[in-house]
Amino acid sequence: MRAQQGNRFFFNVDWVTILIYVALCAIGFVNIFASIYNPENSAVFNFGSSYGRQLIFIITALVLGFTILLLDAQFFSVFSPIIYGGTIFLLFMVLVIGNKVAGNQAWIAIGSFKLQPAEFAKFGTALLLSRYISSFSPKFTEIKSIFFAAIIIGVPLLFIMLQPDTGSALVFLSFMFPLYREGLSGYFLLIFLGMIVLFVADFLLPIYLIILIILGIGGFFMYQNRKRQKVLFTVILATIIAIAYLFTVKLIYENVLQQHQRTRIEIMLGLKTDPKGAGYNVIQSKIAIGSGQAFGRGFLEGTQTKYGYVPEQSTDFIFSTIGEEWGFLGCFVVIGLYIFLLLRVINLAERQRSSFSRVYGYCVASIIFFHVFINIGMTIGIIPVIGIPLPFISYGGSSLWSFTVLLFIFLKLDSNRMGFI
C-alpha cells in the first residue's frame, strides 16, 4: 500500500511545473554568477561568493520542496491558522528585534543568515485565505465576507507597512485575483484600475482638466441612466468619490509618502530625471537591458553587468543582467517561462476538487504574477523602483525558499487532488 502510494505520488506530481521551476532557478544561478563575475578573479568556483551561496540556496530549496511533497496534503489546510499566526508573530518580531537595512526594518538576523518574514507572510496569508473560503464558502457579494477576507489580508499588510516595506505590501493586493475568482465583483478590479489611472493622471494633467473629464464621463452615464433612479444614484456617488479621491491622493502624496518614494514615482512618470541620484538605478538598468539588443552580448560579456553599473544587480535588478547578456531573446524566454508557469498553475487550480486547493492555486499564481510584473516593470522603467525580488531568479535565500514553499505546497495539493482535504 505504501509502495503504491509512493508510485502515485510521483505519478501525480506535475513534473512540467517542476521543470519550469528548475529552469528558472538555473537561469537565476547563471545570471547571478554573471553579475557577480569579476574578470580578474574568476579562476575558482567559490562557495563563499554570492553565486556559491545561491547554489546552496537552490539545493536546500529543492530539498525543502520535496520534503513538502512528502508531507500529508491535509497538513496545510489543518495547520493554516497556525502557520498564519506564526508568520504574523515573525512580522511582529521583526519590528522588535529586526535589523534596519536602508531605513527598512525587514530582516531578522540568525547568525550570518538573514530571514525576511514578509516573504513567508505571503503563503501564510494565502493558506488562511484558502482555508477561510473552503471552510465557510463565503459569498463575496456580501459585505461580511469581504470584511473577513480583508481582515486576513489586512493584518500582515499592516505589519509590513510598518516596517515599512512598500514593495511586499503591494504584493498583498494580488489576493484580489483569487477573491475575484471566488465571486468578488469585477467592479472591484475596475475601481482598482480606475484608482491607478486617476493617481497617474493626477501628476500628468492639471487637476481642473481631470475634474472636467470625470464630470464629462459621469454626466454621460447620468444621462444614459436618467430613468433608472438607483443606477443614477450610484453614478453620482461614484463621480463624487472619484473627485474626492483625486484630492486625497494629492494630500497623501504630499504628506504621507516619504521623499524617496515621491522621487521614485516622479522619475517613473518622467516628471523628473536625476541620473546621478534616485534615477540612477533605472537609467543604468535600462541602459544595460537596452545594450543587449536582440540577441544579447553573450554570457559574461555584458560590460554594464561586469563593471557594476547597475546597483543591486544580483537581487532586485537581476533582470538587467538577463537583458544585457541574453538580449530580447533571453527576455522573451524568461517572460515566456513565467507566463507558461502562471497559466499552468491557473489551469491546475481549476482542476482541483477542493476549493482550498483552487483558491490556494490562484493565490500562488497571483503572487508570482505581481512579483514578475513589478520587478521587470521596474527594471525597464514602467513602474517606480519598488524593491521586490524576481521569483526563483533573484539572489537570496528567503525569497527563493518562500517561493519554493509557496509553489510546492500547491504542487502537493495538486498531486492529492483526488483525495479529500
Binding site: G186, G290, Y307, G308, G327, Y338, I339, L343, F369
Partner: protein, 648 residues
C-alpha cells in the same frame, strides 16, 4: 449569476496582456532604439589620449631651432580627492587658497570622475618637489606633455607660436582636435601645423562604475601610439639670421635674404622682433597682450606684410623691360639737368650728371634716366594708346612677382600694389597718360612691394631671368621631401644678355667711387645692388637696399628696409653688406667688425604713434624690451644727422 469558472479566462488574459506590455517595452529599448546601446558604450569606454611631441625644426645646416621641453600638468579627479593639506599643495605649486578653490570648482564642474587639468605646465623644479609628496594628495596626478623651446630666442615671427586649441579650432577641423590639443597659430607653426603636430595616441580603456580601469577594449586592437610630428628642415641660416636681428635691433624694418638658385630664404628678419619663448607656457596671455600693445607692432611679420614703395630699387626692373623691348640700348644716353619734366610734372634728380647711359644711370640712381626709359616704354609706336602700352608694361612687371603674393610658405602674405590700367582710369578718369604715372619710373606712386618681393627681384636679376618661389622650409621629414613648386623655375621672359648691362650698373653702384652704396663695398667680393630712398607719407624716408653677391654665380640676394632711416646708403646698404659677407665668408672681415658693432647699437625708431591699445603700465616691458620712450629721443637725433659710417 455568471459562471465563475469563466473568470479564469479573464485572469489568464490579464496575465498575457501584461506580459505583452513588458515585451513591447523590451522590444523598444532593445531592438528598436540604439540609444541605450550607445549609452552603454559611453558608460564603460574611455579614450585615454597621449599627446605627441611636435616636430623639430632645423636650420639649413642641421642646427636645432625648435625643440620640445617636457612640462607637467597637474590633473585632478574630484571624486577621488580626500581631505589633505591643501595649504602645502598651494605652497608647492604657488597658488593661494581662493585660487585653489576656484580651480577645484572648475574641475568639479567639468567632470567628477575624469582627470581634469588643475594647474598647467608646471616647471621641472616644481614637478620634482611635487612628485615626492604626490601620494599625500589623493585624487591628484601629473600628466606630462611637451611644449616648444627655442634655444636661440630668435626669429619669433618666423616660428609663430603654438597655442591650445579654441572651441572654434575644434569646430573648424571637424573633430580632429580635442580640448587640450595644441595648434600652430602663426608663422611656420601654423603653416606646417599638419606636418608638425604629429598624431595623438589613443588607448581605449574599459572602466567600471567606480571609475577603476578594467583593461583595454577588445585587447587594444583599436589603440594607437602617439606619433611625433615630422622633422622640418628650414632654409634659414641661423648665424646670418642672428646677425640680422642684432643689426636691426632698435630699428624698424625687415631683412630678407634668398639663395637665388633655389629660392630658399636664408634670413627672415622682422624688426622689432621678440623672443618666441615668451609665447610658450603660462605667461602667454600677458606677453601676447604686451606685444600687441607695443607701438612698433612686433607681431607684424614685416617681410611679407610690410608695404614699401620700392623706390630707386625698382629702376633695374624698368631698365630690363626697356632693354627687352628694344626702346633703349645700354649705350643710349639721356641728358640729366637735375630734373625731368613729364608734362607739367617735375621729377627731381639728386645730381646733375649730364649725359647718362644705363650703367651710370643705375650706379648714380638717376631719376631723369629712369623717367626717360619709362617714357619711351609708354610711347612705343606699336600700341594704339598709352593705356595699352601701360597694360603691356604692367604685365611684364607682374612677371617679376610684383602685385601678387609669391606664395611663400607663411600665412598672411600680402600681395603688394600694382595698378591695372582700369584702376588708373577709375582713379584719374579717362584722360591719363604716362605723365600721370611717371612716378612709377622711380618706384614711387601706386606701387608697393613687400621686402620679400624686393628680395625676389634681386634673385631674378642674380639668376639672369628666373626665380624659384621663395620658401622657408626646404624639406620635410626624414626623407627630406621637397614640394614640387619649390624647385620649379619661373621665367620673367627677359633675355639673359640684357641682364649684364643692368648688373654692370648695379655693380658700379656698390663698387665704383661714384656709386650710391660705395661705402658698403665688400672686400674681395663683388656685390651688386641698388639703393633706394623711399618717400614715406607718414614720416621720414625709408632706407632701402637691394642687391646680390657675388656677381658671378650669386649665392645670396637680399633686400633690407630700415624704416625712417633716410638714405638707402646710410643704413640699409651697410646692413645688407654685413649680412652678405657673413653668409658668404662665415665671418666679418677686419675693420668691418667695428662697423657691425656700431650698427648694432644704432637706434632708429620712428616717432611713437599713439598706442592702439591702452595698456597697464607694467606690461610695457613684459616682453623684455626696454621702455620705448627713452630711445625715441636719441633715435630722432641720430636719424637727423646720419653719420658717415666709418672711413676706409
Amino acid at each position: 449569476m455568471e459562471n465563475l469558472f469563466n473568470r479564469k479566462y479573464t485572469i489568464q488574459a490579464l496575465f498575457i496582456i501584461v506580459a505583452l506590455i513588458l515585451l513591447g517595452k523590451l522590444f523598444y529599448i532593445q531592438v528598436v532604439s540604439d540609444k541605450y546601446f550607445l549609452s552603454a558604450e559611453s558608460n564603460v569606454l574611455r579614450k585615454i589620449y597621449t599627446f605627441p611631441a611636435r616636430g623639430v625644426i632645423f636650420d639649413r645646416k642641421g642646427k636645432v631651432l625648435v625643440q620640445n621641453e617636457p612640462v607637467y600638468d597637474l590633473m585632478v579627479i574630484p571624486n577621488q580627492v580626500k581631505s589633505f593639506d591643501t595649504l602645502e599643495l598651494c605652497r608647492i605649486i604657488g597658488i593661494d587658497m581662493p585660487g585653489f578653490y576656484k580651480r577645484f570648482h572648475k574641475a568639479t564642474v567639468q567632470s567628477r570622475y575624469q582627470p581634469t587639468v588643475f594647474e598647467k605646465q608646471l616647471s621641472v623644479e616644481i614637478y620634482a618637489s611635487l612628485q615626492e609628496k604626490l601620494s599625500r594628495f589623493p585624487g591628484f596626478l601629473v600628466q606630462n606633455r611637451t611644449v616648444r623651446n627655442y634655444p636661440d630666442s630668435i626669429a619669433g615671427q618666423f616660428f609663430g607660436y603654438v597655442k591650445e586649441v579654441t572651441q572654434k579650432d575644434i569646430d573648424d577641423n571637424e573633430g580632429y582636435y580635442r580640448p587640450g590639443d595644441y595648434i600652430g597659430k602663426a608663422g611656420i607653426e601654423r603653416q606646417y601645423n599638419d606636418v608638425l603636430r604629429g598624431e595623438r595616441g589613443v588607448t581605449n580603456m574599459l572602466y567600471d562604475a567606480r571609475n577603476v580601469p578594467q583593461g583595454s577594449y577588445s585587447d587594444g586592437k583599436l589603440d594607437t601610439l602617439a606619433r611625433s610630428g615630422e622633422k622640418v628642415y628650414s632654409s634659414l641660416d641661423i648665424e646670418v639670421q642672428k646677425l640680422g636681428e642684432q643689426l636691426m635691433k632698435n630699428k624698424v624694418g625687415s631683412i630678407v635674404a634668398i639663395e637665388p638658385s633655389t629660392g630658399e630664404v636664408l634670413a627672415f628678419v622682422s624688426s622689432p622682433g621678440y623672443d618666441p619663448n615668451i609665447m610658450v607656457g603660462k605667461g602667454y596671455n600677458k606677453n601676447y597682450m604686451g606685444l600687441l600693445a607695443e607701438p612698433n607692432r612686433p607681431l607684424n611679420v614685416r617681410p611679407i606684410s610690410g608695404y614699401y614703395s620700392p623706390g630707386s630699387s625698382f629702376k633695374p626692373v624698368d631698365a630690363l623691360i626697356g632693354l627687352q623691348e628694344g626702346v633703349i640700348d645700354p649705350d643710349m644716353t639721356f641728358n640729366c639737368p637735375g630734373y625731368y619734366w613729364a608734362g607739367n610734372h617735375k621729377v627731381k634728380c639728386e645730381h646733375v650728371d649730364g649725359n647718362v647711359a644705363l650703367r651710370r644711370g643705375l650706379a648714380r640712381s638717376c631719376n631723369t634716366y629712369a623717367c626717360n626709359v619709362f617714357t619711351k616704354l609708354m610711347t612705343q609706336k606699336r600700341f594704339k594708346n598709352q593705356k595699352l602700352a601701360y597694360s603691356d608694361w604692367e604685365a611684364k612687371v607682374r612677371k617679376f612677382g610684383l602685385g601678387a603674393p609669391l606664395d611663400i610658405d607663411m600665412p598672411f602674405e600680402r600681395k603688394g600694389t600694382l595698378f591695372t590700367s582700369n584702376e588708373y582710369t577709375k582713379r584719374f578718369g579717362k584722360y591719363w597718360g604716362y605723365t600721370t604715372v611717371i612716378s612709377l619710373a622711380i618706384g614711387q606712386g601706386e606701387m608697393a612691394a613687400t621686402p620679400l618681393q624686393m628680395a625676389n627681384i634681386m634673385a631674378i636679376i642674380a639668376n639672369r631671368g628666373y626665380y624659384v618661389k621663395p620658401h622657408l622650409i626646404k624639406a620635410i621629414g626624414d626623407k627630406k621631401v621637397i614640394k614640387k613648386e619649390y624647385v620649379q623655375k619661373n621665367y620673367v621672359d627677359i633675355e639673359a644678355r640684357h641682364f649684364e648691362p643692368v648688373i654692370d650698373g648695379m655693380q658700379e653702384a656698390v663698387n665704383s667711387p661714384w656709386g650710391t652704396a660705395v661705402l658698403s663695398r665688400l672686400p674681395n667680393i663683388i656685390m651688386c645692388g641698388k639703393t633706394g630712398t623711399v618717400q614715406n607719407p607718414h614720416g621720414k624716408n625709408h632706407s632701402v637696399f637691394i642687391g646680390f653677391a657675388p656677381r658671378d654665380n650669386p649665392k645670396i640676394a637680399i633686400a633690407v628696409i630700415v624704416e625712417n632711416a633716410g638714405f638707402g646708403s646710410t643704413y640699409a646698404a651697410p646692413i645688407a653688406s654685413y649680412m652678405a659677407e657673413k653668409y658668404l665668408t662665415d665671418s666679418i672681415s677686419g675693420y668691418r667688425k667695428a662697423q657691425v658693432e656700431w650698427m648694432k647699437k644704432q637706434v632708429v625708431l620712428p616717432e611713437q604713434p599713439k598706442p592702439k591699445i591702452k595698456l597697464m603700465p607694467k606690461n610695457t616691458d613684459s616682453a623684455g624690451k626696454s621702455n620705448p620712450t627713452a630711445p625715441v629721443a636719441t633715435a630722432n637725433k641720430i636719424a637727423d644727422k646720419p653719420k658717415p659710417i666709418a672711413t676706409r
